[in-house]
């Protein structure tokens, strides 16, 4: 089959990618749409560094692709997908062929080993024609929801999870730094949770407009007004939860420096490089930093429900659609935040 591969840093379409065959507990699906995730852009650039950090940690993470991942061989990616069931594996209970589904991007082998559908030399991802899913991980897409919107479940669930981890409560306010897909997902979930002061900061006017659409009550261009000044003006006296959805070196320290006393910082942007901080800033103001990753199955299912019931309007986030041959160009295009938010691959 055809699938996009990252090999030695280059994105290309491989015409003879292995055809996946469903084993026990697995389902073969045809990919309908798969969003391009910022973490894939990071990985294409900083993959080797990330693997080295993972090894240094001893691989204690769901992101860990295992010691066997070889960046000089084909690496398959794509974890934000919706798909249609083609064939159910032997002795497996699963939705029948033709059903539109989505899934947490985790595949179990017939032997029960866990394989993240994130970066792999073997496990096909959503940037290809077909892939395998695990029957117990599959969720049917309800309400006749468009497959394009269903593909947004995964990134939106990241936002819901970050909001849950923040333990933000009514009466508290939020400042969201960075209005890419993750920041917008956070804003959407904050709005659903009834948070009534949501200040969002981004250099891009397009993204600030999307932030307003998703529920931000105040948007700011940090070149015109520092984000924390905008927060003081709009939210001032409230306890503050700051969501860092930028994920580049220097952001965490700038929050530690500028945040008000007792601010809770939720790090939801994925910075794969070594960073510098001044602990003294955090100590002086008794700040809290919560690092976040992913979501749990309930959060994933609840996000799909919220999208299907129209509570989370994800359509405005989709700014482009490409076939497999357009993926390399889409990786380039996503570097320009004024042009794009979420590009879907529709193989």
């Amino acid at each position: 089959m055809r699938a996009v591969s990252l090999k030695a840093g280059q994105i290309y379409v491989k015409d003879d990618a292995p055809d996946p065959v469903p084993g026990f507990g697995q389902v073969l699906v045809e990919v309908k749409a798969c969003g391009i995730c910022g973490s894939d852009l990071h990985f294409a650039k900083h993959g080797a560094e990330m693997l080295a950090l993972g090894r240094e940690m001893g691989g204690m993470t769901v992101l860990d692709p295992g010691p066997e991942l070889d960046l000089d061989q084909d690496v398959y990616m794509g974890h934000e997908f919706s798909a249609e069931v083609l064939e159910v594996g032997p002795d497996t209970v699963a939705p029948e062929a033709g059903t539109l589904v989505t899934s947490i991007p985790i595949l179990f082998t017939p032997e029960g080993a866990l394989r993240p559908i994130v970066y792999s030399n073997e496990v096909a991802g959503g940037y290809g024609e077909r892939m395998l899913l695990s029957a117990p991980m599959i969720t049917e897409v309800p309400n006749g929801l468009d497959f394009r919107h269903a593909a947004l479940t995964e990134p939106m669930a990241v936002g819901l999870h970050a909001v849950h981890k923040s333990r933000i409560a009514p009466g508290e306010g939020a400042l969201v730094l960075g209005c890419g897909p993750v920041g917008l997902a956070v804003i959407g979930s904050l709005q659903l949770k009834g948070i009534d002061t949501i200040v969002a900061s981004d250099f891009s006017p397009t993204r600030r407009a999307l932030a307003t659409t998703m529920g931000a009550t105040e948007v700011v261009d940090p070149r015109e007004e520092p984000a924390f000044d905008a927060w003081m003006r709009a939210g001032g006296a409230k306890p503050l939860v700051c969501f860092e959805a930028i994920g580049v070196p220097g952001i965490i320290d700038s929050v530690l420096k500028d945040a008000p006393h007792s601010t809770r910082l939720v790090v939801v942007g994925v910075c794969m490089e070594t960073d510098r901080i001044n602990p003294f800033f955090g100590i002086s103001k008794e700040l809290n930093v919560q690092f976040c990753l992913g979501y749990d199955p309930m959060e994933f299912a609840d996000t799909l429900r919220a999208i299907a019931e129209g509570e989370l309007a994800v359509a405005p986030l989709i700014t482009g659609e490409v076939g497999l041959d357009g993926v390399a160009g889409a990786f380039e295009a996503l570097g320009n935040p004024d042009e794009h938010c979420k590009i879907l691959v529709t193989p």
Copy 2:
């Protein structure tokens, strides 16, 4: 009067320090004992850096000595004290002369301005014969408690505060990195809170013995067994709260790297230098970092009560006593963790 001063990086005894005169709301006291705090050692070494960081932050901290602090003039220190009331200021309600007291190290001027008793060109601290306290901040020392032990209230309150901030609960376990006075204070409070797995790590056998005295259930020399290995052996399956009570660059990142998933790191050591971290470690394992400083008035009062009622046995922590002339030497001696834990200045 005589008082120790830090001037241009040198500790010396100034024979003609200004005699403090109590104004409205203030009390003149004779210092009975004052502990030498690790943060004073840090400040003597990194004072300029700390002031620069404070200015960068905009001075939003109780530690901020204000823009006027001049390191080339006499700086008075000493914030862990017990003292005897000598004279009560005009129109002021306070314990009568002869009463043994301690206080949160904050002085209000008669005009109501707040002056931390930490580092100051003007406000006398506990490394001197006499000082001013604020009547509303004073707590009488109960139960005929020895003035030496009462002087330990402040550092022990730091430990109680860190334990409160950690929200550690029965069924969870603790790993305390560093068994200087702060780490030992944390261990004492954990034991009082009924935490039954308290692993403590320190290079020094003397400090490991003190950790056991204070309530550690397992001590480890990290040169013989990595601290997190010791934790896995002793506490393994329990949720972990890790207290970082070392405060030097590199420690936070090593915790992010080695800690189990979902560990809460409480930073109670004060690192005044720029540090390097890999956010990816924290993200991959959804770690939480709570920076801590100080305590609140209730925690201070509760700590004094616990010491006075014998729940917190602080006597073993006191390993030395010097007069004002011995302070410079004591600053040197505290560099050797096998020789000393807490040295009291008894002017």
